[in-house]
């Protein structure tokens, strides 16, 4: 044993597809390869530099292919290499990146390609998530039907004004206009249009809901030596964690799940963060329905309980606010479900690398990527920084 402790992990390449409603021009293999090739190009590496591939996606029913990593081994240059397939519901993109980072941190591999995707146009995601009777009553159509009552509970609990949700949607959709990879580019968006959009799952309106996207996101993770060879600035992983709790149980707090609090606390402990609001410069948060921004602001410790909506209302989470949330436009603008968590992680990395283009938060040194899934029960988060970790 010549080493002690974990190997520092760096993100040296990020690649995304232009997320759209339907990529009829490419196969599933073509979609994932596009993101992987872009990540390799960003890292200035080739397939031969990759030691292992870690791939994630949400339910296989979305494309109608069981364990598609078997078929994708060729397209991702994995033949002769290790390939792992992660599936942790909506948090999977984040979990996949964390599993890949563990391979480097444990010094099992030096350079790993991690990728997550969803090609939702192959099926209907909402009904893919709606369980047949007798597993579930037929009223819970899609994820919105599941989460709307919890949004209502948040509003009741905190007394948040009805308009806060529309502010989040208006912000994220405007941020997406600065992100060339975002799915929704609504150039004529106005707050009035958001507020006038049809009610889908009361209190969630159509414009406060994530789209259904085809897209893939890839990252190249490497060790200290790999980062030293990188010509572009790397993003360093300062902390990462996963937490899970059961779907339903007496005493579960759907508004602010304990697993989310514990996960964030673990990440902050690893990264030495004691005041997340002041010490973190940008947050890419998994907000599939607008109201989840204020809810997660509290759950992640950026606001006191009951105060999250006040940050949103005061413009703190705007791109030019003091805690920008979802500068990329977030899940509300782009949602290839299996990839959405990894896009959050990758966008956080782009921010601290100074590579986020028009949606760059000036001078971002530390950024958080956040993902959740299932019945608000699976959490995956990481915190990346511009400087290498000191411990």
């Amino acid at each position: 044993m010549t080493h002690t402790g974990k190997e520092p992990v760096a993100v040296v390449g990020v690649g995304q597809t232009k997320h759209v409603a339907a990529r009829h021009d490419v196969s599933i293999a073509g979609l994932v390869r596009e993101a992987a090739v872009r990540a390799l190009a960003d890292a200035e590496l080739s397939w031969a530099d990759i030691d292992a591939v870690v791939i994630g996606k949400a339910p296989d029913f979305f494309e109608g292919v069981m364990m598609p990593e078997l078929y994708l081994a060729d397209a991702l240059g994995a033949v002769g290499k290790p390939m792992l397939r992660v599936h942790t519901a909506g948090s999977v993109g984040g979990s996949t990146a964390l599993v890949a980072s563990h391979l480097v941190a444990a010094r099992v591999h030096r350079t790993v390609l991690t990728l997550a995707f969803e090609k939702q146009s192959e099926s209907n995601a909402m009904w893919g998530l709606s369980l047949p009777v007798p597993f579930q009553q037929p009223l819970l159509a899609g994820a919105g039907g599941f989460f709307a009552p919890h949004v209502r509970a948040y509003m009741r609990r905190t007394g948040a004004p009805d308009a806060v949700g529309s502010l989040v949607a208006y912000k994220d959709r405007r941020n997406a206009l600065k992100n060339p990879y975002a799915h929704l580019h609504e150039h004529d968006i106005t707050l009035e249009k958001v507020r006038a959009s049809p009610m889908l799952w009361d209190p969630i309106r159509y414009s406060e809901t994530c789209p259904s996207s085809d897209g893939a996101c890839a990252m190249i993770l490497t060790d200290r030596a790999g980062a030293a060879r990188s010509r572009k600035p790397p993003a360093w992983v300062h902390g990462g964690a996963m937490r899970s709790e059961p779907t339903l149980f007496a005493g579960k707090d759907f508004v602010s799940p304990q697993a989310g609090k514990d996960c964030a606390a673990d990440v902050y402990r690893q990264a030495g963060i004691t005041d997340p609001r002041r010490e973190i410069d940008a947050v890419e948060m998994y907000v599939p329905f607008s109201w989840y921004e204020p809810m997660w602001l509290e759950n992640l410790g950026f606001a006191q309980e009951g105060e999250g909506w006040k940050l949103t209302e005061a413009g703190v989470t705007e791109l030019d606010g003091d805690l920008p949330v979802n500068p990329s436009g977030g899940v509300l603008s782009t949602n290839p479900i299996g990839a959405s968590g990894m896009i959050r992680f990758a966008e956080a990395a782009l921010q601290v690398r100074g590579q986020a283009g028009e949606h760059q938060v000036p001078g971002a040194r530390r950024a958080m990527g956040h993902a959740y899934g299932g019945g608000a029960q699976f959490f995956a988060m990481w915190l990346v920084g511009a400087e290498p970790p000191t411990t």
Binding site: L84, A89, M242, S244
Partner: protein, 357 residues
């Protein structure tokens, strides 16, 4: 002390439990099938869920017939207070690999790994066709037995085996399973039967059934505290091959060989091999790749996948069975293997060692 210096930490399998694998389990949900197995494996160590550092499982939504099926079995773990947990849509052997990596990072000292699959609700031969290239292969609906038959015929054509040789593998496996109370097909009297897909007869194919398994991993002194004779994982690696059967030499398994080299299989003799070979012909391929020629190695003393093949768990069971032989003092150095995909496309190899008595 086994020679484990290739990795940061010494990690061992300290407990293993499995269900009694059966053709059907209509009266049990997945969580009801998994829970007793979890309780048994935890009881072996005296650990409680909250004392486990990391939990990881392997299962398939396509077998369960619903999205996010693993969320329900998580309820059986009792994930409260919240736990550090992950899931692979793969055989549980790869969940064990993810957990082993997690322990190697130093972020956990113990891990609970479990896997399960119920094949009885559907036609597993048809279901597995959905695992193939969706553009060029799946539309033809070649099922798992047909693809394995192509592989078996390639072996016969290459002079590597014959139908009598294949029949002997099935007979030996079921005879060995007579001593395994969890196996689905036990005893020498299982008939070789008719052709399923020529040249494979019923006896060359795995039984279809439902089952679950669980393993506990622990590092260093924790492993010694939890188990009288830990099964140290002195090497573990996995590799994948091209997907298209036409792109591969089906009589060979280069991915198994590469994984075995990285796991250190060939650095010393093994006395036991637990091979995840659902079809008799696949044991021929794996023996060649792992250089298991003679009679000095006990191959599949549990009966292997030809005696019980619960999907998504059968690979993890190979690691568990090999470890259990080390726990019992019946093996000092064992190789365990798991596979996934058509015709052995993806393979994992682990070396397990016990300390000298």
């Amino acid at each position: 002390m086994p020679t484990t210096s290739r990795y940061a930490r010494d990690v061992a399998v300290v407990a293993f439990a499995q269900s009694d694998h059966r053709r059907r389990s209509d009266e049990l949900s997945e969580v009801e099938m998994v829970m007793p197995v979890l309780h048994r494996v935890l009881d072996q160590t005296g650990l409680k869920t909250g004392e486990i550092g990391f939990t990881c499982s392997g299962s398939s939504d396509y077998l369960a017939g619903r999205a996010f099926s693993f969320t329900m079995t998580l309820d059986g773990v009792g994930a409260w207070p919240p736990i550090s947990e992950s899931h692979v849509e793969m055989d549980g052997a790869w969940a064990l690999y993810e957990a082993w990596v997690k322990i190697q990072t130093g972020e956990a000292d113990t891990a609970l790994v479990y896997a399960y699959g119920k094949s009885s609700p559907g036609s597993v031969r048809d279901v597995l066709t959905r695992q193939l290239d969706p553009y060029y292969l799946a539309p033809l609906w070649p099922d798992s037995v047909a693809l394995a038959a192509l592989q078996a015929q390639a072996l016969i054509d290459a002079g590597e085996t014959d139908e009598a040789g294949l029949a002997a593998i099935g007979a030996r496996s079921r005879a060995a399973a007579a001593a395994n109370p969890h196996a689905q097909l036990r005893g020498a009297a299982v008939a070789q039967g008719d052709y399923q897909v020529r040249p494979l007869r019923t006896g060359d194919c795995p039984p279809i059934g439902d089952g679950a398994a669980a393993v506990i991993l622990a590092a260093g002194d924790t492993a010694r505290r939890l188990c009288a004779r830990p099964a140290w994982i002195t090497g573990i690696d996995h590799r994948i091959e091209a997907h298209g059967p036409g792109l591969r030499d089906l009589t060979d398994s280069p991915s198994t060989r590469i994984a075995a080299e990285h796991a250190g299989v060939f650095e010393a003799p093994v006395d036991t091999a637990e091979l995840h070979a659902p079809f008799s012909s696949q044991e021929v391929v794996l023996r060649k790749a792992l250089r298991l020629g003679g009679d000095d190695v006990a191959v599949n003393p549990s009966g292997g996948a030809l005696a019980a093949n619960p999907m998504m768990a059968a690979g993890l069971i190979r690691i568990g069975e090999a470890a259990a032989r080390i726990h019992r003092g019946e093996s000092d150095r064992a190789v365990a293997h798991a596979t996934s995909g058509p015709c052995l496309q993806q393979n994992l190899v682990a070396v397990l060692e016990g300390e000298p008595a």
